[in-house]
């Protein structure tokens, strides 16, 4: 077990390998399911503010297979495979029935899990979920582009994703290669979740999501534009609130962690 600031990182057994779990804070349990870049370095910047907001929370943030130091699972080939895996992960992490803050592809997976397992979450705070498709406003392609352009698509301030995209100049040769490999496997897992485009039939299942939902969007989301708020609000059974955060991009919790934590706290407490 190791810690960085107040965040604890542990490995949890999963399907013959392990998944990495970041944990911080004390209080009622809240899950965080990451987006395209996982929980690199000390984890998503939203973890600490979420743990400290309100009366405090115990935030549990698993890294999905292929992300960070979680083992690769080569048998995850389809959305069905991923839904089963994420359902298992929330069980082994003690997150079943807890509220979940989920971002981007993580929010898509949370919706898919909730559609087949409606009791999985008590409340969903979804940051720019993927899964619905508006032909008039197609979701941008985050992988048919260069690495620097992808980075610019994900957050409004590309500097905030440095723990994922930038190499640490202090790293020695082998560590540098492995850091590159870790980034590559995370990008591979992300790509496999949205290939060729993030529409896998969620629209036919989303009516089964019964828990309360709070929708959060970055106002300058260049990947999944805020016009999608209406798409989700129209088909989800219990949308409690929608929030648009000025100056935030697709991974709004990286651009504006405090604002996202504050919204989540109001929604969950």
């Amino acid at each position: 077990m190791m810690t960085s600031a107040s965040v604890t990182v542990r490995n949890v057994a999963f399907r013959g390998g392990t998944i990495e779990v970041h944990e911080v804070g004390a209080g009622p349990t809240v899950g965080y399911l990451h987006g395209f870049i996982g929980n690199p370095g000390a984890g998503s910047p939203v973890l600490a503010p979420l743990a400290g907001a309100g009366d405090g929370h115990r935030v549990i943030a698993p890294s999905l297979p292929g992300f960070d130091r979680s083992s690769l699972c080569e048998d995850l080939r389809s959305m069905f495979d991923w839904v089963v895996a994420v359902s298992e992960i929330i069980d082994v992490c003690g997150l079943a029935g807890a509220p979940m803050v989920a971002s981007s592809i993580g929010a898509m997976l949370a919706l898919e899990v909730a559609a087949v397992r409606p009791e999985a979450f008590s409340h969903l705070v979804l940051i720019a979920p993927l899964g619905l498709w508006d032909s008039d406003v197609p979701v941008a392609d985050p992988f048919g582009t260069t690495l620097s352009s992808q980075r610019a698509l994900l957050t409004n301030d590309p500097a905030v994703t440095a723990p994922f995209f930038d190499d640490d100049p202090a790293m020695a040769g082998d560590m540098l290669i492995e850091h590159g490999v870790t980034r590559y496997t995370a990008r591979t897992a992300s790509a496999s979740l949205v290939w060729p485009l993030p529409e896998f039939g969620l629209s036919t299942r989303i009516h089964r999501v019964r828990c309360p939902v709070t929708l959060v969007w970055g106002a300058v989301d260049k990947l999944n534009p805020p016009s999608y708020i209406a798409c989700y609000a129209d088909v989800l059974a219990d949308v409690r609130a929608t929030h648009v955060i000025d100056g935030a991009g697709h991974l709004a919790e990286w651009d504006a962690p405090a604002e996202v934590a504050a919204i989540a706290t109001v929604a969950l407490d």
């Binding site: 080569e74 990008r187 290939w195």
Partner: protein
Amino acid sequence: MKAIWFHLMPYPELPDGFEQDHRSVWVDIDPKLFDPKVGHRAYNDYIDELEHAARVGFDAVGVNEHHANGYGLMPSPNIIASTLARTCPEAVLVIMGNSVALYNPPLRVAEELAMLDCITGGRVVAGFPVGSPMDTIYAYGQNPATLRERYEEAVDLILKAWTTDEVFSYAGTYNKLRYVNCWPRPVQQPRPPVWIPGGGSVDTWAWSAEHDYVYLYLSYFGYKAGLRTMQGYWNAVRELGKEPNPYRAGFAQFFGVAESEKEAYELYREPAEYFFNRCLHVYSGYADPPGYKTLNTVRAGVEGMVERAAREATARADASRKSGRGASGPAGGEPGLTFEEMIEKGYIIIGSPDQVAERTVELARSLNVGHLMALCHFGNMPKDVVMHNTELMATKVLPQVRHLFDDEWEDHWWPTPMAADERASSGVG
């Protein structure tokens, strides 16, 4: 050594300024640039050129598969091969190849190649590429994380379909077939030779060697740049304890033969610049989709062939922007790279027949390749120049290099057609 006359079939009329006005020659090339009347002429010229190559003495003619590609007009290599099956009655057809992961079920490929093997009386080489990222991942929407697994399963299914003598069921990860029954059956028994075109994946080296498939490096950057890749392949062969038979390997190379070196410079400068500047103007965002490379390749830092093309195209575009001039001016290839440097680096072998023969021997010996994929057409080369180049290559160069390896090695990967007196007349030529 065997010589295969290989055609990429580029679109011959990409406009001046293409590199400045368009992002990529591949994947999202502007559909409005395609004039079907130009396509009509190009396809017919290109088929004429392949037929000419077979007539003047090449051992084989070669075709390949690309999608949404301005330098490769063969979405289906089998269609072109089917026209050649009848009009080239003696040449081997090297179909290099079908991107088998793209077809559902891949049994279709087994059937079509078996048809071609029947029509030709057993003159087919079956090439099975993983396929470039542009073709497979972007143009055909395959998931990069599962492409290789899907590919290996497709190859397995096709080979079982050819070699199993009874109807069987196939419960693969991606292919579920209650009844597999490849009908017709290939003439060549147990199956046509399998060649694997690669672009630099280290795992493809070992996989090809392990299965005794020919590994063919389809490089655009010539034999000097291809040395590292081919050494990697031969190391994999050695590590498996297999003989370094040069016929286990093939290599693609651009050639420009003329009566003199001076004439060669005059004839081939423009088509070379057209190819390396316009045809390889590939957007770098399409070069490296995550999951396409194996982790061994990532760790080894090996750059794929199309990845290199895209990187160099980006460098050209950047240089063009900085200098305020077009990228396809007198300088071609990399920024500042002249046509002469392109030749010096070995991208293209040009010169008189003797000069070309000397370089070809150097290529074959240094890379240890017994199958030469000769690209005697490139870029927007006029048809009469292609015919001239092809004829000189066949009649004055190949006789000087054919003997290579004959005393030492046998080609176990070449088709074994039916005897001539058993074969049907094509009714052509």
